[in-house]
Amino acid sequence: MALGKNKWHDRYPELGTGPIPVEPYVSPEYFEQERDRIFRKTWLNIGRVEQIPQPGDYFVKDLTVCNTSILVVRGKDGEVRAFHNMCSHRGNQLVWDTKGRCQTFSCKFHGWTYALDGSLRHITDEHNFFGLKKETLGMTPLAVDTWEGFIFINVDPDPQQALSEYLGKGLRTSITGYPFEDLSTNCFSWHTDVQANWKVAKDAFQEVYHISTLHRRIIGDVYASKANPYANALDFTLYPPHGRVSLSANPGRKLTGVESIVQGFGSTVLQQNNSASEELPAGVNPTGYPHWSFDGLALFPNCLIYVSKGTYLTHIFWPITENLTRWEIRTYSPQAETLSGRFSQEYGKVSFRDTLLEDASTLERTQTMLRSGAKKEIVLQDEELLIRQHYKVTESFLNA
């Protein structure tokens, strides 16, 4: 592996080398601009098609950052549709639970009823209204599309780009053939609200510079090796506004006692894969490194997808205020067929979760100090390229 100095900057000199300002992490005004010009304008990943396999299946996603709640439903025709979760009468939230299956949606306030395609079907005491046109009073739809089974919505009533265009051909092709569908039968998820700006949270998961320090005990030797002591990336490729990193594993790592028990039942631990990717599509592990670990896709603005062999995971960071973020973590793997397989998956979850707890330990502390105003800038090294890219992309959205 080429361990050059400043090699990513040489590849992407337009991102510069300077510090980046603290203001985007703490300013309420900046946050409002992000809301209006990014979250209300771009495609946002809100889940997977497996959440709603059958006609009538639905889930609700609160999108505080866009000041709305969204109802995603599979219609009788099999189509996935998304609506603002709002009744056309006086605006009550239509669906109150987070997921379910039904034939129609009925408002709990005065009983107006909607079909799965969003059209208004029933108005209680209809003849007392004044010349209503039912066909104009359906739920308000949102732009919705899917990519590799991920459901994206766009709250812009007139999106500037189709989803496929927004993701871009380069990024899409780079992952084509990855078995998202096969690996998505079993979803395990956590969430938490952290008192930190959403970018403080996202930044912590789009660099691995911290692993040899923060995670030295749980995964210190998983990526870092004698030859690559700071787990420098194999590759960064940018597909603006998105980016992608590829990581190697430490081929010399010894398994612990329980890890070696787990190993016999199918590893479901992303960070311990330590395996070549010969069965995966050519775009995965782009450098063809024999001890590849995972590739991370950073989808602008708020979604990270880490793909590995046999499992993948996502982080989604939902801004609530400039100082508060809902952080959602989902891991995906095939359904375990046996209790031993479940034990193995459980170990993967625990080990990953411990790593997440360590990651999370810095978020609120960082936010507290960024808010102090003591420093106006933070500095980044070459391996923190995706953080730098995020800042530059944000600036271009805000100044567009």
Binding site: E50, S189, I218, Q335, E337, T338, F343, V350, D354, A360
Partner: protein
């Protein structure tokens, strides 16, 4: 003498039944609130038996696990839960976010 709780052949693990916990949350709390001496004793009792335990559990289809085998299975989940405490940290939990703040949510499939 109370009724046996674990399958035949695994009675020697009955002193560790306090680790047979059904939910992730209970197991997280147990790990967080137990001293390392207790965690290590449980680890040392179960690890050498794991080959036997997993072989035993393999015989049951996931939906038809008898109560005693289920208790044994929960012991293995607790082993998964505390293994990093013994093998990586040398203390119950890492210095990190309070473990209970990372809340488990069901997206799909629905679990009990």
């Amino acid at each position: 003498m109370s009724k046996r709780q674990l399958p035949e052949g695994f009675q020697d693990l009955e002193p560790y039944l306090e680790w047979s916990l059904a939910t992730d949350r209970e197991r997280s709390i147990k790990r967080q609130t137990s001293p390392m001496t207790k965690i290590t004793a449980f680890y040392q009792a179960v690890v050498p038996r794991m080959d036997e335990i997993l072989a035993y559990l393999e015989q049951y289809p996931l939906e038809q696990v008898p109560a005693d085998a289920q208790r044994l299975f929960y012991l293995t989940l607790s082993l998964a839960k505390i293994a990093p405490a013994v093998e990586m940290y040398g203390e119950p939990v890492p210095e990190g976010l309070d473990t209970l703040r990372l809340e488990n949510i069901d997206i799909y499939p629905t679990r009990s």
